[in-house]
């Protein structure tokens, strides 16, 4: 059994609860144990870093230190949380004065940020730790009749100086996972593009244009569904889908899955169990 500390993203405790719940079905099947970090706090969502760079360093040093205390790597299933926490880690590791300042405060909780735990995405654990062959061996319902559009999203790829797992121009980890589960990936120009999430409340029209482009390509390519490793991308592509497509004058729709649901389906769990019916587009 491979053990990890599991970071609970705010959105997975509110709008996309099905993401975490579906992991619970199959984690043991794949020899994984995710220990939920109930003490973890919001990473700052790619905003706190400029509102207050020092608070940003503190909260994320603490998030990582909680995992370090258990001697485990920190696993994240939201792209933006991943990028944000890794950005903080890089800053802390490169700035000894900041690390010291933060650690002096963290002492109050008996914590210390040492920089010993890695911060990684759920997708990377599946592809790199469990391995494609081991996943293939566990598949009971291959996704062989499905044409799947892999939408990576931004913050699992860029900035590559912080992420570095996939080639940001030609990512492949999600494609490999889809194929290991028996699905067929489609060539998808928008695979490494943006969903528009971070400006939804500030520049809605622009955000929806960005989302509509990604949706339109998957629809035109006759994909059966889009899959994304990020709950924020999911929220735009699923929740805001009808609004985005309406703005772009497109009359169609396409389901959007979390990777945790796609894995669950191939491992034999039902759409109902996995919470797929809770999506806006089904």
């Amino acid at each position: 059994m491979k053990r990890y500390a599991y970071y609970m993203s705010c959105i997975n405790e509110s709008m996309t609860k099905e993401l975490d719940r579906s992991i619970d079905f199959w984690q043991k099947d794949l020899g994984l144990e995710f220990v939920k970090l109930h003490e973890g706090t919001c990473c700052g969502g790619s905003n706190l870093d400029y509102v207050s760079p020092k608070h940003f360093a503190l909260v994320n040093a603490r998030n990582i230190a909680l995992a370090e205390k258990m001697g485990l790597d920190l696993i994240v299933s939201c792209n933006t949380c991943l990028m944000t926490i890794r950005t903080a880690k890089k800053k802390l590791d490169e700035t000894p004065a900041l690390k010291k300042e933060v650690n002096d405060i963290l002492k109050k909780e008996g914590l210390e940020y040492r920089g010993t735990s890695e911060v990684r995405h759920l997708l990377w654990v599946l592809v790199d730790d469990v391995g494609l062959d081991a996943i293939k061996a566990k598949v009971t319902v291959p996704l062989k009749n499905y044409r799947i559009a892999p939408f990576y999203g931004c913050h699992i790829l860029r900035p590559s100086t912080v992420l570095g797992r996939d080639n940001p121009l030609a990512p492949s980890s999600l494609d490999q996972l889809i194929e290991a589960l028996g699905g067929q990936t489609i060539p998808y120009e928008h695979k490494n593009r943006c969903c528009g999430f971070h400006t939804l409340l500030v520049a809605e029209e622009e955000s929806l244009n960005v989302a509509a482009e990604a949706l339109e390509e998957a629809i035109s390519a006759k994909a059966d569904f889009i899959v994304t490793p990020c709950p924020l991308c999911h929220t735009v592509l699923d929740g805001y889908q009808s609004k985005a497509l309406k703005q772009a004058h497109i009359e169609s729709s396409i389901p959007v899955f979390h990777i945790s649901e796609m894995v669950g389906l191939a491992l034999g769990y039902t759409a109902k169990q996995l919470g797929i019916k809770r999506h806006i587009v089904v």
Binding site: V51, R158, V202, G239
Partner: protein, 345 residues
């Protein structure tokens, strides 16, 4: 001997350049022309285009000048990515081709087309002017040439990297928001504004900042990092964008734009609960009227599907929130002290 010839041949390959063509005076729509040439190892995309223009098709149009990655004239999309043709190696591009052996060359995106690979840079220049991206000196005219400006090393490092920009517009072409709305300020302009705003010799910081926080300005950036990733000079453009936001919050407070209010809400929620209170985020960002008008139909769908974020009282605080708050507030004191120190300087 044979070995030498083989090695020589290995250093040469037939490569097809599939080049975007469009002459608005003649063509009703754009098309692609294929040019197959023998390309040696080490040759750049720009040298190949020059060869094509000289020996195959003199009508092919593109901009180029220094051939050394300094002038920024030959920005174009090679195999779908905005970059400089003069620093792009043909043999490296061959590994990135969608169709084997065919390198696709297209003009930059999000700028008006003039002909073939040439785009109109005027919209970018106009934005540079709109945001007053020059130094308006703090030194009175009478003292000019008589006194010198002293710039500290610390200050220089703040804009050193930003001055590497050669205005090639690769970031402009890759920007997600500009693609969605041509009015958007664009990354190169934000980078330049940042560079001017942190320069102590400049006197119009406040005027520039007031313009940057308006619609289509700094708050419309969607943090996709495509600009930074495509920068031919590896400038951390997003850091500059974040720095403008930080400066705007410090100098103008969170009240004047929805972007600023949105960002501040994260700080408030983390201090209070350790978790984001998503249910009220739209209201705190844009007010009740906007929220009802824009999000009500979607909220209804979400209620039906039981995926609405919980109302504030039901958002569970992170475990250990009490001690977390103490630490968070201690950091607030540190930040206050830092500010005092900077202002004393």
């Amino acid at each position: 001997m044979t070995e030498t010839i083989d090695q020589h041949q290995e250093g040469k390959r037939d490569v097809t350049f599939r080049v975007f063509r469009f002459n608005p005076q003649v063509d009703s729509k754009p098309y692609f022309d294929d040019y197959t040439i023998s390309a040696e190892r080490g040759i750049t995309v720009l040298r190949s285009l020059n060869y094509i223009k000289e020996h195959v098709d003199a009508t092919l149009s593109f901009r180029a000048f220094c051939q050394a990655g300094i002038c920024g004239s030959c920005g174009m999309r090679v195999n779908g990515i905005s970059k400089l043709a003069c620093t792009s190696q043909v043999w490296e591009e061959l590994d990135k081709c969608r169709e084997p052996g065919i390198i696709k060359v297209e003009p930059l995106r999000s700028l008006p087309m003039i002909k073939d690979l040439i785009v109109d840079m005027d919209p970018l220049v106009d934005k540079m002017k709109h945001y007053s991206n020059w130094i308006d000196s703090t030194m009175p005219l009478a003292e000019m040439g008589k006194k010198e400006f002293l710039v500290s090393e610390e200050e220089f490092h703040r804009y050193d990297k930003a001055t590497d920009c050669i205005l090639c517009a690769s970031c402009v072409s890759e920007c997600s928001i500009l693609r969605a709305n041509k009015e958007y300020v664009s990354p190169a302009v934000l980078l330049k504004s940042y560079r001017m705003n942190v320069d102590s010799r400049d006197s119009i910081h406040d005027v520039r900042l007031a313009e940057l926080v308006k619609d289509h300005g700094v708050w419309d950036c969607t943090h996709c990092y495509r600009c930074q990733e495509s920068c031919v000079k590896s400038i951390p453009i997003m850091e500059a964008i974040h720095a403008i936001r930080e400066d705007a919050l410090e100098c103008r407070g969170p009240k004047d734009t929805s972007g600023a209010k949105h960002a501040e809400a994260f700080m408030e929620d983390i201090e209070k609960k350790g978790k984001l209170v998503e249910a009220t985020l739209p209201i705190r960002t844009n007010g009740m009227v906007w929220t009802l008008r824009n999000l009500l139909p979607m909220a209804v769908k979400m209620i039906v599907k039981r995926r609405t974020p919980p109302p504030p009282p039901l958002v569970k605080s992170a475990k250990g929130i009490k001690i977390f708050r103490v630490m968070f507030r201690e950091m607030t004191e540190h930040v206050k002290q830092d500010h005092q120190k900077t202002h004393k300087k």
